[in-house]
């Protein structure tokens, strides 16, 4: 069984709003899965549930065969599943290096030392290493508030990778980044991710970006999984075209 993440009948309701309806998904080790869907389709809700931030209304989530339902994000991260965020979640008033050092320190031990300095040689080496991998070393000593958006997204992902996760969930890694920069950014991300041998699932709106890297696509609409499979098949699916991507005749269909 090579299944790293499995959801069974996952549902989430916020009062009258259904954010997730019977989501059944199986991700296998080493896959690169793209998640597409229009805004409000339930992609971030899915990630929030799987990483423990939201409690599902019904259903089960298995990570490496073990149920992680009801566990906190902290426990799930320690179990080996990390994520990045749609809006990069960093520590604004600290330097880029300090941001990463905190990630390193957190990954090393759940009980931080009260007196031993956080900034020691080995942690700094680790942080510098990942900065180099992402090619953002020149921002090392800058305050995060002064760092451009693209770099912030990379730091966000770097912090998730530091804990050596088995699986990485990226929520719109290129959001907020200009169209010209998107491909370069994703290239960097996927290159580093490949080096770390991580199973990846990322949410993305740009179909060119998606097609470039994934071996499989999950299409969401209105809280349900509309299609799940090889990229060509999913993107050619008429329902996917109608509700998600807007294929060649979408405007005609919309007019009907």
């Amino acid at each position: 069984m090579n299944c790293i993440l499995e959801t069974q009948g996952l549902c989430k309701e916020f009062g009258a709003v259904t954010a997730a309806k019977d989501v059944n998904v199986r991700i296998h080790k080493g896959e690169v899965v793209g998640v597409i869907g229009s805004n409000g389709a339930g992609k971030t809700t899915f990630i929030n549930m799987v990483t423990g931030y939201l409690k599902p209304s019904r259903g089960e989530i298995l990570f490496n065969g073990q149920s992680i339902l009801g566990r906190t994000p902290r426990a799930i991260t320690r179990a080996g599943m990390a994520r990045s965020f749609q809006v990069a979640q960093l520590f604004p008033q600290l330097s880029v290096l300090d941001n990463l050092l905190i990630a390193v320190s957190a990954a090393q031990s759940p009980f931080p030392s009260l007196l031993a300095p956080m900034r020691n040689a080995s942690r700094i080496a680790q942080a510098d290493a990942i900065l180099a991998e992402f090619d953002i070393s020149r921002w090392r000593d800058t305050l995060v508030t002064a760092v451009p958006q693209g770099v912030r997204k990379l730091i966000d992902i770097a912090m998730a990778l530091i804990g050596d996760p088995q699986m990485l969930l990226l929520d719109e890694p290129t959001s907020g980044v200009s169209a010209e920069e998107k491909t370069a950014l994703m290239d960097t991300v996927m290159r580093v991710v490949a080096q770390h041998q991580v199973t990846v699932l990322f949410v993305e709106h740009d179909m060119d970006v998606v097609r470039r890297y994934v071996s499989r696509i999950l299409a969401f609409y209105s809280g349900e999984v509309l299609a799940d499979g090889a990229p060509e098949a999913v993107l050619a699916n008429p329902r996917v075209q109608e509700f998600v991507t807007g294929g060649p005749n979408a405007h005609k269909r919309a007019a009907q």
Binding site: N48, Y53, F85, Q86, V87, Q89
Partner: protein, 298 residues
């Protein structure tokens, strides 16, 4: 009999607490400002009333009922002036800042107002007992109760109902509730939030000074009374849920009755009981009995 005494004492104290806390909770509900200076508004109202009313009655200027009107009128005017100065002169430059920072800013305001009052009214106590004494007492199931206190209960009921009706039934109240719910959306819908803030703050201030003026005849008005009162007001507002009128009423009753019970049966616990209930509610239901929980989105 003792139980009845507790009930009466508790209700009287509760109505006083409600009068004090109403302005505080309204301001927080709409503007998300926990106004520490509210106690100072209360004190300003008390000083204004005590000095003017004291002068009026001591010199036998006119009929008694005019004295009462004077008391209420000057409190409202004082509240209007102070509220306008503070909102237009300071607070409107600070909107949007962190909630705790706003608390610290209003704390600074409290410090300033405390000494301002000392400068205007001096440090000696003021008395304006005449309205209290004039009304006499009644017998209520064998207990002697001051009519003034009963009037306070009545006023707080009317005020509470009035505020609630205004918020729930009038158009302005609905707009206010929209602002409470989501400031940005209300602005996008064309609500003049800035003007609303001024209105609400001044209303809250006037409620505060009114409470002070109404209380003045029953006590001696001294420096530091605002500081003591504000913590009680906090307790009531926190217990009831910040921003909720019903909450303030229920919170006031809870605190009033608990305190009365303590005073009658275990006086050493009088202060303990008030803050104990506050801590208990915060521990069990931090948003208060009628408050809303705000979730963070990521």
């Amino acid at each position: 009999m003792s139980l009845f005494a507790v009930l009466i004492d508790g209700t009287i104290y509760a109505s006083w607490l409600f009068l004090v806390a109403a302005g505080l909770t309204v301001i927080y509900g709409v503007m998300r400002i926990l106004n520490m200076a509210h106690g100072s508004f209360y004190a300003i109202g008390a000083y204004t009333a005590a000095s003017l009313v004291g002068w009026y009655f001591n010199n036998g200027i006119g009929p008694v009922w005019v004295g009462y009107l004077l008391m209420l009128g000057c409190a409202l005017v004082a509240g209007l002036i102070v509220g306008l100065i503070i909102e237009r002169g300071l607070l409107r430059f600070m909107y949007g800042r962190d909630e705790v920072l706003m608390v610290i800013i209003t704390y600074a305001l409290l410090l300033i107002l405390e000494d301002t009052m000392k400068m205007i009214w001096g440090v000696n106590p003021y008395f304006a007992y005449q309205p209290y004494a004039e009304m006499g007492r009644s017998a209520l199931a064998g207990l002697k109760v001051s009519n003034y206190d009963l009037m306070l209960v009545g006023i707080s009921l009317v005020l509470g109902l009035g505020l609630w009706l205004w918020l729930e039934r009038t158009h302005q109240g609905k707009v206010l509730r929209a602002v409470i719910h989501d400031r940005e959306v209300a602005m996008a819908m064309g609500v003049n939030v800035r003007r609303m803030f001024t209105l609400v703050f001044v209303l809250g201030t006037m409620l505060g000074t009114l409470a002070g003026a109404l209380t003045a005849p029953a006590i001696s008005v001294v420096p530091g009374m605002g500081v003591e009162v504000i913590v009680l007001a906090f307790a009531v507002v926190v217990i009831g849920g910040m921003g909720s009128i019903e909450g303030a009423a229920v919170g006031a009753l809870l605190v009033g009755l608990s305190r009365a019970a303590a005073v009658h049966y275990a006086p050493e616990f009088e202060l303990f009981v008030i803050y104990g209930v506050m801590a208990l509610v915060l521990a069990v239901r931090p948003q208060g009995l009628f408050g809303r929980v705000l979730a963070r989105k990521i």
